[in-house]
């Protein structure tokens, strides 16, 4: 028991949770409406897209790779699916299926290229991002879609409960997507054989290969899953912003990477948990929302996020100095 407690104290999740709790306490003292249900629901809605992507990226990071192209993939999926909805009048099932299929397809392309090209996944996905995004902008000429079908704009609305002041709180598409993405990712990583194989692949690729894991298939699975999540997240995002913009998502990839890494996922692979990823997104969300509620100019929010990232990565490296002296070169 004590051993378990000690190990928990050393985990990234513990410190992250501590920081978040402190932040929430300070915020709710300064602004009592911070912990209101309304604000929490708002937060869940506006960070659903990033959160879902973090869930997908977590799997890629654990496998020892990285994907930069997901924002471009999401934009393409969003654009094609909702154009089809406008032109052919397909419903929820159709839109979701098209977005999922496009995401999955492009993700599989990434997986295929990462496996066959033999160069770092960051380079491969930068290249595919450029190709996908360039073609998309050429075809769409950068035009937004504002006219969406009414059933799509309405979204889904499953009432959960009604507060005593009469306000109704209900489950919306954003929350549904967020919960589903994290739950399925947790299932894959912790309750399936494939999940263990992904951890093994990220921990030691050579060993995983020699044990007999099919690295090629694992790569396809990992990048395909990332693409699938990106496709589905794009629909959630379009429903939230009530529009499709080819230029709104690309360029924000690194924010998602930052959230995943804040949650303790290592860029070297083999490390990372769903709980950590959730806490990473939560920290970024609470921080930015908190600054807004406190009335700090939004121009400064990126600066504060940067400070937090640097503080987090520096504190993760606390014990490294000693390791460097004991075994030079090993402290990586």
């Amino acid at each position: 028991m004590r051993e378990a407690l000690r190990r928990f104290r050393q985990a990234q999740e513990f410190w992250l949770a501590l920081v978040i709790v402190l932040l929430v306490i300070v915020m709710s003292i300064l602004r009592p409406n911070f912990l209101s249900l309304q604000n929490i629901f708002d937060l869940l809605g506006s960070y659903a897209f990033s959160g879902m992507l973090v869930a997908g990226l977590l799997v890629v990071l654990i496998s020892g790779g990285i994907d930069i192209s997901f924002a471009a993939v999401a934009t393409v999926a969003q654009f094609v699916a909702l154009t089809c909805a406008n032109v052919y009048g397909i419903g929820w099932a159709g839109v979701t299926a098209i977005a999922a299929a496009i995401g999955l397809g492009l993700g599989l392309c990434n997986g295929l290229l990462v496996s066959t090209l033999g160069i770092a996944s960051i380079i491969v996905t930068i290249a595919t991002q450029s190709v996908i995004y360039g073609i998309l902008l050429t075809v769409t000429k950068g035009q937004d879609i504002f006219a969406l079908p009414p059933w799509f704009s309405a979204g889904i609305d499953w009432p959960i409960f009604t507060a005593h002041d009469g306000t109704q709180y209900s489950m919306n598409l954003q929350m549904l997507g967020l919960v589903a993405a994290f739950f399925i990712t947790w299932l894959i990583l912790n309750r399936t054989n494939v999940g263990r194989q992904i951890y093994a692949l990220g921990g030691n690729r050579e060993a995983a290969q020699r044990v007999g894991f099919n690295v090629f298939r694992l790569n396809l699975l990992v990048y395909g899953y990332m693409g699938l999540i990106a496709g589905l997240a794009s629909i959630v995002q379009a429903q939230y912003t009530q529009s499709v913009s080819p230029t709104a998502l690309v360029g924000r990839e690194l924010d998602v990477v930052a959230a995943a890494v804040l949650g303790g996922a290592s860029l070297n692979g083999g490390v990372g948990t769903v709980l950590g990823a959730i806490l990473g997104v939560a920290l970024v969300a609470i921080l930015q929302n908190g600054l807004t509620i406190l009335g700090v100019s939004s121009y400064w929010s990126q600066f504060v996020t940067g400070l937090v990232i640097i503080a987090a990565v520096a504190s993760m490296a606390r014990n490294v100095r000693r390791r460097w002296q004991n075994s030079p070169g090993l402290a990586a």
């Binding site: 450029s130 070297n268 030079p328």
Partner: protein, 349 residues
Amino acid sequence: MTGFAGVLVRLIGETNLRLLGLLAILTIVFGSLVGNRLFGELGLRSMASQLPELGLLSLAMMVALLSAGLDLSVIATANLSALTVAFILTNVPATLSGPVAGWWQVGAVIAGILVAALVGLLNGTLIAYLRVSPILATLGTMTLVKGLAIGLTHGGVVSGFPPAIVFLGNGSMLGVPMPIIIFAAVALPLGILLSRTPFGIIVALAGSNERAVRYSGIDTRRILLFVYLLCSAIASLAGLVMMARFNSANAAYGDSYLLVTILACVLGGISPMGGFGKVSGLVIALIILQLISTACVLLNLSQFLTLSLWGGILIVVALGDAIKSRFAPVLLARRRPQSRPSAQGSRSI
């Protein structure tokens, strides 16, 4: 390999030879599509104006890649540095005139480089001394530095500079545009520094195998610190050129170049695993990218298609390499054994 081909390979390098081949093919293809205009005045001018910015940023990125790192903060650093220069230039005390005003401008540029050096120092400390992974550390500093620039300017533009500064971006000397001259003045010494001096060789060796270099008694931490200082210093020059060309500075100029600089470096034969790569390769790769871009402009194709072609060409080149390495055993059996094992690191970035 003997004879003429062998001499050529040793002189230019295999990677560069392949890049030159690619350049030749593209020149013929685009030349036949576009005609004389490709190397006409308009074509050359558009090449000369765009290449130096991307080029300087890529040079900065290259130094980090060579050390098996990555510097995502180059563009943020360039912009913060340019904003510093811009701020000092636009706040000249009214009493200054004549040579003193000239020195004020020099001082502004130096202040810009110093601000960039501070960012480099932060990167270097995080990466070399705290052993934070380069992607993470520079992701953090990128957000921080860009956030600082946005916070200070509220996303606005600082503009209106003295003629001497504008000349750096738009003037020309002996018919050669100033940005090209600045680019050459950075690329040439950097090439010598990286391939002909102990510092450059240690950087490349540390990029291949940091532990081995550390065991041979070299403080790799100091070397890495210098690497990121150098990155930031080059980035600040890129910022200066951008600022001078647009006659304005902003927190978000050149944002879309970030991933393109990595693409250019990898196309230029700089291994993202570290340790291998030459400035000359990068320069040829930049010319290839610029040729594609200019041809797209002259063919009235969308500028976004350029981005696709850039990404596509990298995938094609990498695919060629992958196919070649798959058949390498077959080819090697027919030639003499390879003199050096290929650079295959287990580190992924």
